[in-house]
Symmetry: C2
Subunit: 184 residues, 2 copies
DNA sequence: GCTTACATGTAATAGGTTACATGATTCT
DNA sequence: AGAATCATGTAACCTATTACATGTAAGC
């Protein structure tokens, strides 16, 4: 899904400015699987306006720069539904963390373990952060997604916590020859 | 991690041609978190050769086009380790499937459920496919990654299977008024 | 006083995908 | 005979990120 469809989707929940769209994409549940910058949102909204998929209304606010509030048109709604109806493409994950694990044998064990510890802390934070997103669950399928997200994070966290000790033993163990001074 | 580091990483397991690098990236465990096309691999290898991070050797093979076998140099190895030592950036997931779930209320329930069923089938396939990748596990941290991948797929699969009936009931239930014929 | 939040937008840059171009060999 | 695999590489294209450019207002 490109930035255009993303904007249409957010607007399907109600009118918003470009700035507000960005804010919503940063929070769960969107943040689970999408991120987008201003540099792609504003051009997308301009194009969508030209194509008649959204309508813009300028709202003055005293001395601040005027907001542009965008609303979904009927054509935009149809386009969104059409995009959602396509069989979804494969997930694309880019993970430096998993990459580092795969080549972890090239790093000092202590560094690798500290990277895993950092990830455990991040997952804990993210789980807590996902917990309080009550307001955005507006449909059964959104609730279904929320549960899936929680399951995903929780199972990764459990795995990391449960298997870290074993990994530490495997990394440090084989080199530690008893009765000899550890080389390096 | 960009295409260059990816190539260096694959080559750290042994010399290979551009074609072979692509093949390895398509299989587990790389396929879990990375994908890259020829269009980024070949230019990356050319640049790396110029930078002295890899060395190339042409290998004639009868009538087929000659292979170029690339090997990691000491400078390349250092560069790889340096990249791996950086704190990993955040994971980036792009998932049309999760996006569709979030806006599933805009689709007919039967379509949404069939999309979930397709995902269940894909996950089953992927789990089986990950099962037989014994040869590529060459270190404790690679084994750790493999276990994490299995856990991730398995827990998502379990969630989808366990919660699909509930979602189906929630989607279809409220509309099904007893003693009336179901509308569509 | 400094930082963060609000608010929009453009331009340069980087990175990757897709399609193109070519051709032998092996499997079905 | 036709499809898939092996094998390399370029060019056009698309998309998105980052930095730039500008300025107010609220909170610490």
């Amino acid at each position: 899904m490109d930035a255009k469809i993303l904007c249409l989707a957010v607007l399907s929940r109600g009118p918003a400015s470009g700035y507000e769209i960005k804010k919503r994409l940063e929070q769960p549940p969107h943040a689970l699987f999408q991120d987008t910058s201003f540099g792609s949102i504003y051009p997308a909204l301009r194009l969508l306006t030209g194509e008649g998929a959204v309508s813009a209304e300028a709202v003055a606010q005293g001395k601040r720069p005027a907001k542009k509030i965008f609303s979904l048109t009927e054509a935009g709604r149809e386009r969104l539904i059409s995009a959602l109806s396509q069989p979804p493409g494969p997930d694309r994950l880019r993970s430096d963390f998993l990459f580092t694990l795969l080549y972890g044998d090239l790093l000092p064990p202590s560094l690798l373990l500290s990277i895993i510890d950092a990830r455990i802390a991040e997952l804990e934070e993210r789980l807590a952060w996902m917990g309080n997103c009550g307001g955005s669950i507006t449909s059964p399928s959104a609730a279904f997604l929320h549960g899936l997200g929680l399951t995903y994070y929780q199972s990764c966290l459990d795995y990391l916590r449960n298997n870290r000790p074993r990994l530490a033993a495997d990394l440090l163990g084989p080199k530690q020859v008893p009765h000899e001074r550890a080389a390096e």
